[in-house]
Symmetry: C3
Subunit: 342 residues, 3 copies
């Protein structure tokens, strides 16, 4: 695929400076770009990198146009523009429609749907137009997948779960496994609580590789529209994640937590159960959220790393912080006494 | 399925108050319950919620019976009773017995066993009665699965591992992959230590989605009976987890650690290797256990999170804790000197 | 398989003391060893354990030969020697070559290759000699696997990724899923950045169960030769891991981080994005690496765990560390004032 600069600004907007008939066939980073590629500069402080670029065009913000030796498209949000142009130049590969002879499908399937080899689609499943079920996926009874939803190979969806339209699920994800719910007998044995809720996933959600989303215990686990989940995230039963939240890799969310709309959660953060994070809150990577967050803003709870010997010397003090505070108070009293006398 | 209140107390005990001929067909939370459903109240401090319930019956502890406007079943452990009743009302769906035509089975299989499409069962595998091998599971040579054990789709079990009876394994779990064992050459290259042990799993264990349990290096990795493992847990080689322990999601356990019976480990905790946690110890979510725990009780090692600016101000001090302690000691000396003079 | 002690030292070196005609058929730990087995002692401080061993031979360092009642092979690196001997005694089981009738292969395959039941190999895939594709693996279009590479069952490799020779990939691993890249619109919605790079993996790499390695956004994600990745590791897009690094379970690495050669990263550590860790650095388990590491050595950033009540008392002080430092400074000033007067 190749498109002219004129075509690009006609569809995506922005102010073109330079020869609009040039053809673009790919996106590239500024430093590695060559003829026929489009690069972008999202942070004006790196404007010096523009001088050496060999891209045919650079997408950038208006104030750095003058620094660029090649054609430019100026736009207030270069990164967003780049995303849209890249989507245009890189349409996702789609397998041909049809049910593979080595698939096992127990429900009716629209002609536009593709079911790969080794996939199993159970009874009473409803698949929207253009759905792609990758090789070796398993889809339990009564599942519904909205139009244009794509499952990469090896995804497992348990019975009764519902996914919206244009949902993208990566390999190894497991949707709808039992939540972790047990009552304890007096001898310490655990009695399983049947997990009879479902997982409901809105439109335009992306779910990363090997991410797991448990079904609800009684009610449902809900992922609202536009949420983006990276790889290896664990979502417990009855969690609700608000629209357009984005969670980085390895986040764990315990049961019944509620995460607000447009929240961002950094990688490896742990969110405890039965708490609520309000809309537009941002949790840093590696932070343990042990109580609710009621005000939007950024929250952090991590410790600095140090050379091992420095760490030993400093962090051993943590066991005695309370005693240190007591010593300070005692010193304050003794000094007040001396000051009175002097 | 619908059962009367009389049937319920006849089988599960408890003291019924109200019309025993009422039919129950489902479990529901107190606030969403309607006619024909049973709800429960496990914590008496929420007794005010009883007034508005539309459930046909509420399972509760004896001291709150008087607060309930509908029929009640009084029991000292309402949550446990609820678990048992819910199991009765929600028997797990079982696929029909038989080996699917798209499965590949290289061992004899009892008639009561179900092997789903795409599953592979290797040679010398022993399957107990009523075992379910879900779609696209892979079971290596010489594996043994006890009666009534259920593997959801896409589970991988390596050669030689043994699972007990009534074990429940969720999708994406991997049992018996190689432990992480290497010797280092002087040039920094790693030489693999063959992992020749097995994984042995007792009766009534539940293993969550995408959880991984490595085979032993020389001896075996052992999960004792009744252990409950949530999703995305990593169990290293030669670990032993004592009976009826429960581990929440995203826990990581390094090689040769031993976890006692009835321990509970919170989500995201990391247990280092070659240490021992005694019976009935409880480790909080997000805690790093870097040495053995010899006494039962609860253990924690996490930091509070704060608004990001507060965190910056406070946690930067951690790099200077040792200096702070030195300053306090110096102050104590100087004050003692002044006190002597005054 | 059984080999004599004479055979062993002829091939692997070391100094034999004792009857070289004895046959060895297995490796065993010192305490559980019996006749016909070889044990090893890597740490001389445990030399007392030698007295009771029933092994036929013990591999050990020269200074403890005199403490051993049975035959010995002395070598400066007993653990490395043990690794090599164990590899000899425990050659990996290999499935028979050939493409299973329930596999679906859309590319030419050398006769020496084994493709298991349920596997799917897409178009334009290049497989080296002796490659093993386990049951239910999925291999996207254009992938290349070097000679002697082994994929255990249920591995997913996305289109275009390249693995070297003798790579070992465990079940549930996902290689080449989309990196986590989105641009944000002003209303909070996310626009996906197509991930058009690849994953390139060098020779002799091992990848653990359920580990995920994302493809690059524009350039490639690179795992250099000899790297060892344990289970459930997440590697973000455009990460580069240097040769012979070893990463323990549950490590998470954010996008564009660079990890040096021969680094070791402890379990559950989180490495943030766009930073660089130099060669031969060692990061402790559970540590969050939030900035670059420029000097080799060991680095740690974890907190001690305590009995829960002790933790409450001490760690609540962390919210007031800055105030504690201020109090110390105020005390210093007041004392200086008093000292001046006295």
């Amino acid at each position: 695929m190749a498109i002219t600069l004129n075509d690009i600004v006609a569809r995506l907007g922005g102010e073109l400076s330079g020869d609009g008939s040039q053809l673009i066939h790919a996106i590239a980073p500024l430093e590695g770009a060559g003829p026929g590629t489009a690069a972008f500069l999202s942070n004006p402080k790196y404007r010096k990198q523009l001088a050496a670029t060999a891209a045919s065009v650079v997408i950038l913000s208006p104030e750095v146009v003058a620094d660029c030796p090649v054609a430019t498209i100026a736009t207030p949000q270069p990164y967003l523009y780049f995303a849209r142009l890249s989507q245009w130049l890189n349409p996702p590969a789609r397998p041909a429609p049809g049910v593979h002879e080595l698939a096992r499908v127990e429900s009716p399937v629209p002609d536009s749907v593709s079911v790969g080899p080794g996939a199993w689609v159970g009874p009473n499943v409803v698949l929207g137009e253009n759905v792609v079920v990758g090789a070796n996926c398993t889809i339990g009874a009564g599942v519904a997948l909205g139009a244009d939803t794509v499952l990469h190979p090896n995804v497992s969806i348990y019975a009764g779960c519902c996914l919206g339209q244009r949902v993208l699920v990566h390999s190894g994800a497991v949707i709808g496994a039992d939540g972790f719910g047990f009552a304890r007998e007096s001898d310490g044995c655990w009695v399983k609580i049947p997990q009879v809720g479902r997982v409901l996933i809105g439109d335009d959600v992306e779910i990363g590789a090997n991410t797991t989303i448990d079904r609800g215990a009684l009610g449902d686990t809900v992922i609202e529209e536009g949420v983006k989940l990276d790889n290896q995230i664990q979502v417990g039963h009855n969690v609700r994640i608000g629209a357009h939240a984005a969670l980085a890799g390895c986040v764990g969310i315990a049961g019944s937590a509620r995460i607000g709309r447009r929240c961002t959660i950094g990688g490896g953060a742990i969110i405890l159960g039965h708490l609520e994070i309000t809309d537009d809150a941002h949790v840093s990577a590696g932070t343990l959220v042990a109580k609710s967050i009621s005000n939007k803003g950024s929250y952090t709870g991590t410790v600095p790393f140090m050379a091992h010997d420095d760490w030993l010397r400093n962090f051993s003090r943590l066991r005695h912080l309370d005693a240190m505070a007591d010593k300070i108070r005692a010193l304050e009293n003794r000094i007040a006494e001396l000051e009175k006398k002097s």
